[in-house]
Amino acid sequence: MSVWVYGEQKSELGLEGTITRKLEEDLYEVFIGPQHPGSGHMRIIVRIDGDIIVEADPDMGYVHRTMEKLSEGREWIKNVPLFERMAIHDACNVTVSYVMALERILGIEPPPRAKYLRTLLCEINRIAAHLYGFGIFGVFIGHSTMYMWSFADREVMVELAEKLTGARLTHSYPIPGGARRDMPQDFPQAARKAVRYFRRRLDEYRKIFLDNPVTRKRLEGVGIIPKKIAAELGVVGPVARASGIKYDARLAEPYDAYDEVEFEVPVYEEGDALARAWVKFEEIKQSLRIIEQAVDWLEKHPREAPIHERFWAKAPPLWKKVFEAEGRVKLLPLMANLKLPPGRAMARSETARGEIVYYVESDGKTTPYRVRIVSPSARNAIVFKYIAPGYKVMDLPTIYGSIDYFPPEADR
């Protein structure tokens, strides 16, 4: 068989600038990204034989913003907005475990009201992030109705979060010892309306996306991760739960109000892209349940500052006045120079894309000695290398979309 070498033909034909490389083993190397129609910020170097992927090498780090290093030079509370930038569409979930780690070192427990408020925002964020994931997934597999629908409905959840915290995405809501705002008076009514709206709407989602034969053909049997391999690769979140792993950080180590509210953790055993989509879909339903319960609890209990006494007992009268009028928890100036006792703590929380783990080490100063973050997307990136080979190039967007990979989070 003669090998067509473009380099040699080039000089004969006079086609300057035609550079096409053919590799020795009859494989093509395809560079996908970082400028591509999906959510971007990542390159996957794929070697293909025909249109079958032989090797996939994720080239990450296009959004590596050095959070671990920057945190070492900044005061404890300043790191909350910093780490939040990892996944701004899921802001409360990624910061709550950092705050939990600080609370463990400080040895304080937030008041129950703060716990419920955090849980409430976490679940609002989870739904918004799942819908974001569905929207991007829709773009990836060419189902633009899904993008339009989920981004339109995501705005409901964003609107609720905005009412609660005062920002669309970057809430910076949890602080050591509590939360920054109480819910406004008209919030419960709006939240219940939203829950009822979503309950009805999700059925339509199922019909147009999950049960749509076109989508099913694209998703079924793609990117199968068997249970054992999922455990071996250490994948997290919906990816693991779609493979039959009964693991959820809310289940293993209940934080905030998760040991008091009632919910289920959906697990599927098929392990393919469709099962991963179904896990996210069922999780939205469970999140709606938690939102309802959290709102009920918050309405029943008296309104008080959702922050630990240590940061509120010495508060001047103006603080209390502002809280009563606007529901805003003012911070004591000591918050900026908060000193933690020396110690080490680990905390984990379940974000929409999986579990995030923080390792926080303090040496008794106002800044951390070391913060190690392992984000869910960073742990799921390994799927590209080990699962993508064997599938067609056309399945790569499906795998990418189904694991809900968010590069700024993976790169930190």
Binding site: P81, A152, S172, I208, G244, D259, P266
Partner: protein, 183 residues
């Protein structure tokens, strides 16, 4: 009550006509919204969202309340807030005195609102709008004179205020701001 994991099964494809039924379902939903669409697009800039007063928009300083404590500059995560020195006449003695004033740099501000929350006298407050853009980078580095008055809201001149309310039937509904406020 603790949570529990529940193993679920993917819905099976039922029979020969499962695919057909799925297609019909999807198309019916599509037709439903073709006939009865949900319209809630914001016609910007003829309309603008009147945000809740609690929204963390641009930050403004009330110079009368400021006590020059530099708490805001200390807590700013992005080092956007900084203190500048000004020589001012002391009202009591009449002698010039050095005073520290906060100024903000919107090239860096991340709108986290920590400075507003930490201010001991509520001298900093937020305005509920956020849609201001600049053509020049230097304009974003506010001087003290700019910082003490709310920035001009360009859309308020051009458009009418609307509000979005959560609705049980349609998700979000766009209504005129006056209608909501009347209620």
């Amino acid at each position: 009550m603790p949570a529990k994991p529940v193993v679920k099964r993917l819905p099976a494809r039922r029979g020969l006509f499962a695919g057909f039924k799925g297609n019909v379902d999807a198309i019916t939903i599509g037709l439903k919204y073709l006939v009865d669409p949900k319209r809630f697009t914001l016609i910007y800039p003829n309309e603008y969202i009147k945000l809740d007063p609690g929204y963390r928009g641009f930050i403004v300083l009330d110079p009368k309340k400021c006590i020059h404590c530099s708490s805001c500059a200390r807590i700013c995560p992005a080092a956007a807030m900084r203190m500048i020195k000004r020589m001012e006449e002391d009202p009591k003695t009449g002698k010039p005195k050095m005073k520290l004033w906060p100024v903000i740099n919107y090239q860096r501000c991340i709108f986290c609102g920590y400075c507003v929350d930490v201010c001991p006298t509520e001298a900093l407050y937020t305005v509920p709008y956020h849609d201001i853009v600049y053509e020049n980078m230097a304009e974003m580095d506010w001087s003290l004179e700019t910082f003490v008055k709310p920035p001009e809201h360009p859309t308020a001149k051009e458009g009418i205020p609307v509000k979005y309310i959560v609705d049980e039937e349609k998700g979000l509904v766009k209504v005129r701001a006056e209608e909501v406020e009347e209620k």
